[in-house]
Symmetry: D3
């Protein structure tokens, strides 16, 4: 009776790809127009997948309101309508690629108490998406 | 040469979330407006994934017409344009959450003879979906 | 400097097509499975289009928050998660086809004070949609 | 034999809504989180509609390659992966709302030589879109 | 009480763009890879818009089953799973561009008896679509 | 720190389903209208999923430009705007079902040097898709 529930959220944010580990010429070569000085933005789509047993009394895995509140506090409030490079502590000296953003979102949600976080799928545009399922070290719920 | 084929079906149905295991106040608190007395509805999307070997003569896993007929008889006819709580035996005293509907669809399709049923993905709205892959006890095809 | 703004809302509701102007056999013949006794439902999509001049100070036609509040009060609260035939006064003795629902939504929104309502587009499923632009008698804003 | 052709383009850009005609408190009240100091971004979708007669020799209204080249030069290169407030001259002292961006795109494309520009539809998110068809003064092709 | 109803159909067909009015070099230059010798194909989406008064007894503009039957006979059967250049008489010596296909569909549906055909929108890919509303000579229903 | 990146490509191609292992009557019975003599076509969507470690210097799994170049050379150029049965060597005497096309694409991409190919998802229409993840013999990167 184990199911997965996937819930979809939207974020509008901006970022600039410029790594402190690379010099200016490398940053330009590797990131191309994503390295433009003032940044650019996306409508990110975040899909949060949790799994759990279906409670026989309620017929549900988890209370969606509780999940929404958790995601609002941990993800939407800090990231939505923000410039990731400046507004988010974690990306002050860490390049905010969609890969890194996807892992950051996973880390912020993995303690969700009412169901086990299975994976995060982060869509940057209709053409690119990323999935992260954590490091596999212990899924002991 | 094992592939998965996913085929998408649509269902328009209504339901009311009201569990016989909960009292009136709990039903209201837990289900909110999904507990409204006369129900409400959705355009459900059902994605059926089967897997199998590709037949070297036909280049196909399964005959889609056969799958469509099976799904029509087991799922579309009993559920489409129905009020799940009253028209479907299984939900007369079992709350028709999307979780429970997803498992019910899996159970009704798992004997499909021409390819192995892998999972059901059931979308309730553009924001919520559920996946169920059965109980894992034996995939011996 | 006249633009149109279209904003998209979602509604989950149920309805039964059964006209008081038709006898039982005609109701069955005309509406088919939409005449099933306990109703069925849809995820309706409502697109509200308003037009206006762009305010040179704000660069906007209308305050989206104001539009959202108006639509919430007039449309979402009375219709969302409802059984239209029983929960909505207008459909107690008036068949809630998508055509009639589309016109009802137009009538409820046409007094929106901050921009002129141009049309309502109502999607019942991915295959059917309806548009209504009122009766054309006077667009005097 | 007059048809309309609509072609869809994508733009990832960032902007900050902060009008020089409003004081700080008004900017905050009117634009809310769109007024955050470092901006945010979107995947804008630009739909360009042109109309014309179908050439009996080619069966086409316009050469799509020519339209793509024109849009690339006038819209994609100056706006894509840019921070509109700083990278685009027109928005240095003009608030880059989607309304204003939609009109700016129309003005930049209206001289397209091979078919008449009918309208621009600009989608900011899946929930908001804007359409502009110019000022109607003369469609003399 | 005049509304528009839009209904969406799908067609999988193939075509080759090669005009009898152009020589080989011009055909290659103008159509590029659409001129490849054996053709290529698309999942076309056909949106049929009709308008009419809402019948007060039924609450409907037109019987969808009747429209579906008409479109099946006039459009789906002759075009679906066909190579337009060889299987459709009209395109034996007339280049099957999406423009020409859009007008052909309009001509075949304009006599639909139960509601007035308003326009055809034909989508060739997610990036290109065409709309045709006829020649405007008489909308006398 | 292992992520999956999925990138989406589009292909317009045509095919005819007619197996050399079946006689004419069987071909007609099994493939139905997909066996029509001159073929038909689709807008195929190809989703390529690769996985890898995130490089701490760049914050990326792989260079998207490199992946795009590889896919263009191996898949888009040989398949796009082609009639698979005649233009693609592999399908001269091998029926080009979407199953077989999906495996062919996997085989052509599995040597991609900069990240491990995980799976190919190939969508033939909005209703049918196929996934292939190879034969599982050794994922030793």
């Amino acid at each position: 009776m184990r199911l997965e529930l996937t819930r979809r959220y939207a974020l509008a944010a901006s970022h600039r790809l410029n790594s402190p580990h690379l010099d200016e010429a490398e940053n330009e070569r590797i990131y191309g127009k994503c390295n433009n000085p003032y940044g650019h933005g996306h409508n990110y789509i975040v899909e949060v997948t949790v799994s759990g047993k279906v409670d026989p009394a309620t017929g549900m895995i988890a209370d969606l309101g509780e999940l929404d509140g958790y995601v609002a506090r941990e993800i939407i409030e800090p990231f939505d309508h923000m410039y990731l490079n400046k507004d988010v502590e974690a990306f002050r000296d860490h390049v905010p690629t969609t890969e890194n953003l996807c892992m950051e979102i996973f880390e912020r949600l993995k303690q969700f108490p009412s169901a086990r976080l299975v994976r995060i799928r982060l869509e940057e545009t209709g053409r690119n998406s990323f999935e992260y399922a954590g490091q596999g070290d212990g899924d002991e719920r």
